[in-house]
């Protein structure tokens, strides 16, 4: 498979009264054509800012991309003009957000929002756009699409609005969709409907997907590869199977161990990740996870470990990965 997107040492910061927030602190990853890549990590670790940086949607002030590159179809998105970037957004990269009400325009009908986008990006006639809009709503499982096109977002349920967002994201046949917590606000049966829909459509249309979520179950069900973030950095990456069954970073391990499982009877008390998430304005040169880390060593105080290969296609940023994997083997 060919590489579709390559994020290289991307850095985004916010200037706040508390100091400089290093929200995204030099992340690199890639996405292959048609692949589903997950970004996971706890609240505030920089998942959304990372995605918004790719789309160049970071508000200045207070935020700014201060370094790095985003290679996509032969271009560096970080260097594009605003006009060129507007063409990429919507046309080549679609987005689905957690709260569709913030991204759908409340005063325009569903139909107008869909057809505007298609006419703008694809240059099709209103008639063709109307026809395509009906097809798209049908494709995302909305019954009676012709009637729905005349409705406003507030007429629809949360699940249905999210379907409209997906239709909108797909409307210009993008190569990539970035979905930021696409189902977090939804009930679990509706979440399953939406995720199955996204999986089916992306597979069928060969669209790649970056899915941002804190739900480790969603990742296990849908992702090919996983990037685990902590305090603005990617600290582990690998195929979903390897991340779940051979975690090599202490944070990934702790995260996986802290969640109860619905498919197994309770065994013992949970083993929580200790301590609090870090303050992104006070990061030093050492490893940001070390105050909470069970494998902390002296070196972790001074140096940030680089992402090194632990197995083919599997990297982790920890000096103690050998100890982590060995002890895990003994434990299981």
């Amino acid at each position: 498979m060919a590489t579709l997107l390559e994020v290289e040492n991307l850095q985004t910061q916010f200037l706040t009264s508390a100091g400089i927030v290093k929200a995204v602190d030099g992340i690199s990853y890639d996405v292959e054509e048609g692949e589903t890549v997950a970004i996971v990590g706890e609240s505030g670790c920089g998942k959304s800012v990372g995605a918004l940086s790719i789309m160049r949607l970071i508000p200045w002030p207070p935020g700014r991309i201060i370094g790095g590159a985003v290679h996509f179809q032969g271009k560096d998105l970080v260097k594009l003009s605003d006009a060129e970037m507007r063409h990429v957004r919507g046309r080549q990269i679609g987005m689905v957000f957690q709260e569709p009400m913030t991204s759908l325009n409340p005063v325009l009908t569903i139909g107008l929002q869909l057809t505007e986008t298609m006419r703008h990006h694809l240059g099709v006639t209103q008639e063709d756009a109307d026809k395509r809009a009906v097809d798209l709503l049908g494709m995302v499982g909305i019954s009676d699409p012709a009637r729905r096109l005349k409705q406003y977002p507030h007429h629809l349920s949360g699940g249905m609005r999210q379907r409209v967002m997906i239709a909108l994201a797909l409307s210009c046949e993008p190569k990539l969709i970035i979905a930021d917590e696409p189902t977090t606000a939804l009930d679990v049966t509706i979440q399953a409907q939406i995720l199955e829909l996204m999986k089916g459509l992306t597979r069928r249309l060969g669209v790649a997907l970056i899915v941002i979520t804190h739900n480790l179950g969603v990742v296990a069900r849908y992702a090919d590869r996983v990037n685990v973030m902590y305090a603005g950095k990617i600290i582990e990456r690998g195929r979903a199977h390897d991340i779940y069954h051979r975690p090599s970073h202490p944070y990934t391990l702790a995260l996986l161990k802290s969640v109860p499982r619905m498919d197994q009877p309770r065994k013992a008390k949970l083993d929580p990740v200790q301590g609090q998430p870090p303050d992104l304005t006070r990061l030093d040169a050492g490893c940001a996870f070390r105050p909470r880390c069970a494998y902390r060593a002296e070196r972790c105080e001074r140096e940030f470990p680089s992402l090194d290969t632990v197995a083919p296609g599997h990297v982790a940023a920890c000096f103690e990965t050998a100890r982590v994997t060995r002890l895990e083997k003994v434990a299981s």
Binding site: M160, D187, L195, H241, L255, V259, P260, R266
Partner: protein
């Protein structure tokens, strides 16, 4: 089906019932018109719910948004006046208590809310927030003693007693939730309604609070009604589970029995929709997605309220409302087709 797996903690004795909910209904009127408001219908938020909670037990109450979980909890807390039915606490009907008895009762039943941000008064210090119920109920009128008790409570929930002088906005979500828990404990309640008590917290903090709730349960022999939409947490923490759909309990069973052997078609669909954090399990698991959305509680479907989305539905399901039947010992299901 093999014997039920042994749980890591003992289920409370079946005979000792602390709280009973009997035929509970809560119908909210829906109005139309600005000047002459006219009732045009009712939201049947809770529509005939029965269950018992044993002393020391944690009963999970699950189901999707709007199915009536919070309303059930609010009726138990006497924050709503039910349209029908009764709540018995230690065998006494709460609706029939006089004011003094009700006041005393209120201290024995407490609540922990989902949102630690909005449920704590931002202008009060953490110490005053935790001490307030003791002041209001007059259980600890002496300021110095109350402060000592506040520090004790902070320690109990795993916070440094120095936090007493801070304000809620100076704390993290997990810390704020601990404050909410300390406050709920301040009157030494017997029974706590936990309404989505951990839902707003980050995954890495959730486990800390789950463990805390468990420790407190053991330490103070607390009884919980644990309202949650995260079924994994419910399986971990609860002894028994009730599944609600559109204002009704459709299934109720011991925890492992419910998760290992769900019988109601809705429960089955609900459990199937929850993704398991293990790619291998997920790859080998059939995914049958339930169609459609939850209908409006203003005009619920006739007969079995689940029939429009049910794969097992037959004509009869549109007509008669199925009651809960005990299909296996302690396992109650409201469906005629299983």
């Amino acid at each position: 089906m093999s014997a039920m797996p042994e749980r890591a903690f003992a289920a409370p004795h079946a005979g000792d019932i602390l709280l009973s909910v009997r035929g509970l209904k809560m119908h909210f009127p829906v109005y139309e018109g600005a000047l002459f408001r006219k009732v045009i219908g009712h939201v049947k938020a809770v529509d005939g719910v029965d269950f018992d909670i044993r002393r020391g037990e944690t009963l999970g109450l699950v189901g999707e948004s709007g199915c009536g979980k919070t309303t059930t909890g609010r009726c138990i807390l006497q924050l709503e006046r039910p349209s029908a039915g009764e709540i018995l606490f230690n065998g006494k009907n709460l609706a029939e208590l006089d004011r003094d008895a009700m006041r005393a009762m209120r201290s024995r039943i407490q609540v922990i809310f989902q949102d630690p941000y909005s449920s704590l008064n931002p202008r009060m210090t953490v110490g005053d927030i935790i001490g307030e119920p003791m002041k209001v109920h007059g259980t600890e009128p002496d300021r110095a003693k109350r402060d000592r008790r506040v520090r004790e409570l902070l320690h109990t929930v795993g916070l440094n007693p120095r936090f007493a002088d801070r304000y809620p906005h100076e704390m993290s979500g997990g810390q704020r939730q601990r404050v909410g828990i300390a406050r709920a404990l301040s009157l030494q309640p017997e029974f706590i309604v936990c309404d989505e008590a951990i839902s707003a917290l980050d995954v890495s903090i959730q486990a800390q609070i789950i463990n805390l709730l468990e420790d407190l349960r053991d330490q103070f022999n607390l009884t919980y009604l644990f309202i949650a939409h995260d079924l994994s947490v419910v399986r971990h923490l609860c002894h028994r589970v009730a599944v609600m759909y559109l204002g009704k309990v459709v299934e109720l069973a011991e925890c492992d029995e419910l998760f290992d052997n769900p019988m109601h078609p809705y429960t089955r669909a609900l459990l199937n929709a929850v993704p398991i954090p293990d790619p291998e399990v997920e790859a080998n698991r059939p995914h049958q997605v339930i169609q459609g959305e939850v209908p409006s509680p203003i005009n619920p479907p006739s007969g079995c309220v689940f029939h429009p989305r049910c794969t097992l539905a037959v004509d009869g399901c549109k007509m008669s409302i199925p009651g809960l039947r005990e299909l296996r010992p302690g396992h109650w299901v409201a469906c005629t087709e299983v």
